[in-house]
Symmetry: C2
């Protein structure tokens, strides 16, 4: 079930009043370093600091009035929890966010700051899923998955649609790959709105389920998730994988050292605070830059939410 | 000797081919925090990472062909050395940069990367001045002062001219105050191109020569310069002080803790890497925000060159 062009267009107009149209930045430094024309779509400037705001908003807007009255629930220790909390508040919907008890205080504070109602659980996936299920069953809240939900994917696609409005002739776009929701949306938008625009994914070697899934043709599980790119530790799902298989050209894996170096490079040289997941996409482009010489390259800067008490430099 | 409106206009067209037209960013977070509409002129995205590129470029462009052939010289361990090196290279001019021997390697590398010819001296002002004087006399290079030079001031003014093109109705503009070259240029541009736009300076208590100079009416010296805002440790000069006296409304002083908190706030919430000097202007606005409620406020983000091996958080 591949969405149609019209589905993307509808999502675009649906979320537009609720999200920032983020800037597209360039850097002569970066262009020289990569040997290509690189256009950064800066979703680190998005509301709550990440592209996740788009998918969460679109998903909630697709609920019926009855569903909205009952609220939404998700489990997340990262950006999606914040995105659901803020998107829900903007739409007058209650948001129940299940978080592991050991999540950093700063993340709990952010969710609470956006009006999310937090349920703390043991820090295991089973406990988080059970708690979400309970809220879903007892309160009737709609469960929102951070990446394996077609409305989330369509919302995510709107970032690339905006990028292509500014730079219609991109040859390719790089996006980081975690659960697959961003790269799937990116690839759909590039397919429908680009002019022969290919989509590449960047993924840590330490969480390379998507790379291996594209190789085998089946959804593979992460064997390790020991990466600094905390947003990319999750697995592909049954809804985004068919889209990725159809529309993503290739996934390029990167080492942890490359991620940290790319992150520092963007902070130091481009003066942009980007999170490690965003640096993964740049590191992948940089690793294979010889292949992309003189091309027009889009780069999805997925977010800028970083734990300042634990910087890698 | 106050420059005319036409002098600013000429500087604007003179430097335009050589500098970035930097973006003006806003943040709903920041507007809520301050209670005003704040517009950040992001000179951290300027070439070499700071507004200094504008003044250096304008000053070199005002030299005669003979002067350009002989090169330019300055002494600086900070942004102005890099700016002169890069601006000179862009114009095919040799740049001699006198730096203290104990300047961080990263800063020497940056100057060298832009093609500057470095002379190292003992880390005293006297030694730096003597070395510059020697290069001036022996090679015939023109000395460029980082802040007390009318062409540098006019070049700096172009940042505010661009800001006022985007936001013509600003009620006031905040700029950091070090040697006085930025705030003088800002105040001139606000005077000639604003609609009743006032200029405020932000200055550390630890280097408050400008505050005290405005009080006394005479150029006062810094008694301490023990501030994290390394760009603001220098003193006002005879060329910028009359401009500041005529056109700067007030200088607001801030504590070191306020500077660090403002810097971290911009990094964490706005995802922008700004240097401590830029944070001084925001800290000053924040300290007195009750007085600026619901006004339209411009904020000069002077630069983003930060020593990553020595972050205050």
């Amino acid at each position: 079930m591949i969405p149609l062009k019209q589905d993307l267009e509808e999502a675009y107009y649906r979320v537009r009043p609720y999200v920032h149209r983020t800037p597209v930045l360039t850097s002569s430094f970066l262009n020289t370093e990569i040997g290509a024309e690189v256009y950064l779509k800066c979703e680190n400037f998005q509301k709550m600091g990440a592209f996740k705001m788009r998918g969460a908003t679109n998903a909630i807007l697709q609920l019926s009035n009855d569903q909205r009255r009952a609220g939404v629930v998700t489990h997340s220790s990262g950006n999606f929890g914040q995105a659901v909390a803020l998107a829900a508040r903007n739409l007058g919907v209650k948001a129940y966010i299940v978080m592991p008890s050991n999540a950093p205080t700063v993340k709990k504070d952010a969710v609470r700051g956006y009006g999310g109602i937090i349920t703390e659980t043991e820090p295991t996936l089973a406990a988080r899923e059970a708690a979400s299920e309970k809220i879903k069953n007892e309160i009737g809240a709609s469960f929102l998955h951070p990446s394996n939900d077609i409305n989330v994917i369509l919302g995510n696609a709107t970032a690339t649609m905006e990028l292509l409005e500014v730079q219609p002739e991109l040859d390719l776009i790089f996006a980081p790959v975690g659960g697959g929701g961003l790269v799937a949306g990116t690839a759909l938008a590039a397919h429908y709105f680009g002019m022969n625009c290919r989509t590449y994914g960047g993924e840590p070697f330490e969480a390379d389920d998507a790379y291996r899934s594209l190789q085998s043709g089946f959804i593979e599980r992460n064997s390790t998730t020991n990466t600094i790119a905390d947003g990319l530790r999750t697995n592909l799902g049954t809804i985004n994988f068919p889209i990725i298989k159809s529309f993503v050209q290739e996934i390029i894996r990167v080492e942890e050292g490359e991620i940290i170096a790319a992150m520092r490079w963007v902070w130091e040289r481009m003066k942009l605070v980007v999170e490690p997941s965003s640096a993964v996409a740049l590191a992948a482009l940089n690793r294979e830059k010889e292949r992309f010489k003189n091309q027009k390259v889009g780069l999805l800067i997925s977010g800028g939410n970083v734990d300042f008490s634990n910087l890698p430099f």
